[in-house]
């Protein structure tokens, strides 16, 4: 027997360490930490995760099929329910996709209004992700403090469009109504209130050693792996890649505003938390700039073929009534073609791949859901970590079931 053989034997005897003692733990689909519904079947060695398998699709709602059977303007309420934490971004992304296909140029005022609304909903999205991370780490109170600010955002949305969460905000070609002075005042008040609330939230978490210990080095992913896994948004930025659709391909006049892209170092949970946190500050900056510079003008583009005429004209003028009927019945000229358009959603690059055959409904509409794509890295991210780490990693990724399962 040679030495190499002995070594080989030693290794093989050591290899299957207590394989018989692995326990299977079913995390989900109704586990409190999943916030939505996924199943993770964990193979555990004591508290340590040896391997895992994710199952998704527990709220698969067939968005893409549904979008093929609804006229263009009816798809807006469907997009609401994709990433329901930041519905307005989904709405706007869809409007911009349709506008790109049709070739509508929106006035500056519409762009600025969209930027304000999108940044508000980005705050709402990041806020819920970060505070839920706090809840999963065991601190419930910060969540309730910051949620009051989300309630303020709801208030603003309600004033703009009439609903809190599933907003159905805006229309193809513009906004459904102009900002009233009270909305603008409310947003200004929110900017001031939120600054205080966010500072308070930060002092509860940012430098708290218990929280830092829980999150630093947990669920990390390198920039290379993250790119290979198709990460985008805050989770990619946490790994150190400053990819942001708002900057690389500016839409809705994002290049008018001055803001930074916060990035992290190792892509671990603390990085993600801090990047999201800092992005909220940047969003506040953008909103303030947009509000200060809000240009005058109409709140919609001048496209009578696609944008509903005002109601008074519909009641009183035949021409407007005809346009009205045509738009609602969907008998409008929509060009053929295929478009890919993306916006920076709460979780990353939210893409819409639209194929139109000229009919009243899209021939095919595919949503590039960032959450769906980066969720597959989860198995790799939690390998070898503790059960508690699984939970905080999961909530720091901001997994929204509606977005993942589509």
């Amino acid at each position: 027997m040679t030495i190499s053989e002995i070594n080989y034997k030693k290794e093989t005897t050591l290899e299957p360490i207590n394989l018989g003692q692995l326990t299977t733990l079913n995390l989900g689909p109704t586990h409190p930490a999943t916030h939505g519904v996924f199943q993770n079947i964990l193979q555990m060695d004591g508290e340590r995760v040896v391997s895992s398998e994710s199952t998704i699709g527990y709220i698969h709602r067939a968005f893409e099929k549904l979008a093929e059977r609804r006229p263009f303007y009816q798809i807006t309420p469907i997009t609401d329910r994709l990433n329901y934490c930041s519905s307005p971004i989904n709405n706007m992304g869809w409007h911009m996709t349709a506008e790109k296909l049709i070739g509508i140029e929106t006035p500056k005022r519409v762009d600025y209004m969209r930027v304000i609304i999108m940044e508000l909903s980005r705050i709402a999205d990041h806020l819920i992700c970060n505070s839920i991370l706090g809840v999963d780490a065991g601190a419930f109170t910060g969540f309730l403090y910051i949620f009051q600010q989300r309630e303020a955002i709801y208030d603003i949305f309600e004033e703009i469009c009439g609903a809190r969460l599933t907003t159905n905000i805006g229309r193809i070609g513009g906004m459904e109504r102009d900002f009233t002075p009270s909305i603008i005042a409310k947003i200004y008040r929110f900017l001031d209130d939120y600054t205080l609330a966010l500072k308070e939230f930060e002092s509860l978490f940012n430098r708290n050693r218990i929280f830092m210990d829980r999150t630093i080095g947990v669920g990390g992913i390198s920039a290379e792996r993250a790119l290979n896994y198709g990460f985008t948004g805050p989770n990619l930025r946490a790994a150190g890649v400053d990819y942001d659709v708002r900057v690389t391909t500016p839409y809705s006049s994002y290049n008018d505003f001055d803001f930074d892209i916060p990035i992290g170092k190792n892509g671990d949970t603390y990085d993600r938390f801090m990047v999201r946190n800092e992005e909220m500050w940047e969003s506040l900056k953008i909103i303030r700039q947009a509000l200060d510079k809000l240009p005058a003008g109409k709140h919609h583009a001048d496209v009578p073929d696609f944008y509903l005429p005002p109601k008074e004209q519909v009641y009183n003028h035949m021409e407007a009534l005809i346009y009205h009927f045509k738009i609602v019945m969907g008998e409008i000229e929509i060009p053929k073609g295929e478009v890919y358009n993306c916006v920076e959603g709460g979780n990353g690059e939210l893409g819409y791949y639209l194929i139109s055959d000229g009919g009243r409904m899209p021939f095919r509409l595919h949503f590039r859901r960032p959450g769906f794509i980066y969720y597959q890295a989860f198995e790799e991210m939690i390998k070898g970590s503790l059960l508690s780490d699984v939970v905080v990693t999961m909530s720091s990724l901001n997994l929204i079931a509606g977005e993942i399962d589509a």
Binding site: P32, K65, R81, Y84, Q148, R150
Partner: protein, 178 residues
């Protein structure tokens, strides 16, 4: 398995003692409904808003969400239940201990809502009995609280022995739940 209180001997039927006991128990249960938030999608976020400071579900004694079905009194199904999820909902319902109530929050849970698609269950009342429906997509927190108060009304009026009655058993068996 149902071990609700047995009436003392001699008080068969709704005698005075039994009815006043029912009243007390009903009142107590009414104020201590521990929900199991079965939140799958958008309505879950509005449920968070209901739990949060502005609406504060705690005022009704219902702020302790028990994620373990054994400890819960009220199953709040919030959000779309896909056909893949259906068996899970049912299992959770079966694991809950009596008395249990179910509230379907939002259009999706109640009827499928906008998602009249091949993959979505068209209302959870196809698999488990539902006590209260809350419309809205998602319902406002006010509506969720409203739904909870409807449940409270039900709970308060329910006799302690209802769960042993043959009607109730027939209801369950019509859903195939033993």
């Amino acid at each position: 398995m149902v071990n609700t209180a047995e009436a003392p001997e001699g008080v068969e039927g709704p005698g005075f003692f039994a009815t006043s006991l029912d009243k007390v128990v009903g009142l107590a249960r009414k104020h201590s409904i521990w929900p199991l938030p079965f939140a799958t999608s958008c309505c879950g976020i509005e449920f968070m808003a209901t739990m949060a400071s502005t609406y504060d579900l705690a005022r009704f004694g219902a702020e302790r969400p028990s994620f373990s079905p054994r400890q819960a009194d009220l199953l709040m199904v919030m959000g779309t239940i896909a056909k893949k999820m259906g068996p899970v909902v049912r299992q959770v319902y079966e694991q809950m201990s009596e008395p249990r109530w179910v509230i379907a929050v939002g259009a999706c849970a109640s009827s499928g809502g906008i998602f009249d698609t091949y993959s979505v269950l068209q209302g959870i009342d196809k698999i488990i009995p539902v006590d209260v429906y809350v419309p809205g997509c998602p319902p406002r927190p006010e509506q969720i609280i409203d739904g909870l108060m409807r449940i409270q009304d039900l709970v308060e009026k329910e006799p302690t022995r209802r769960r042993d009655s043959s009607e109730y058993k027939a209801l369950l068996s019509s859903y195939g739940i033993k």
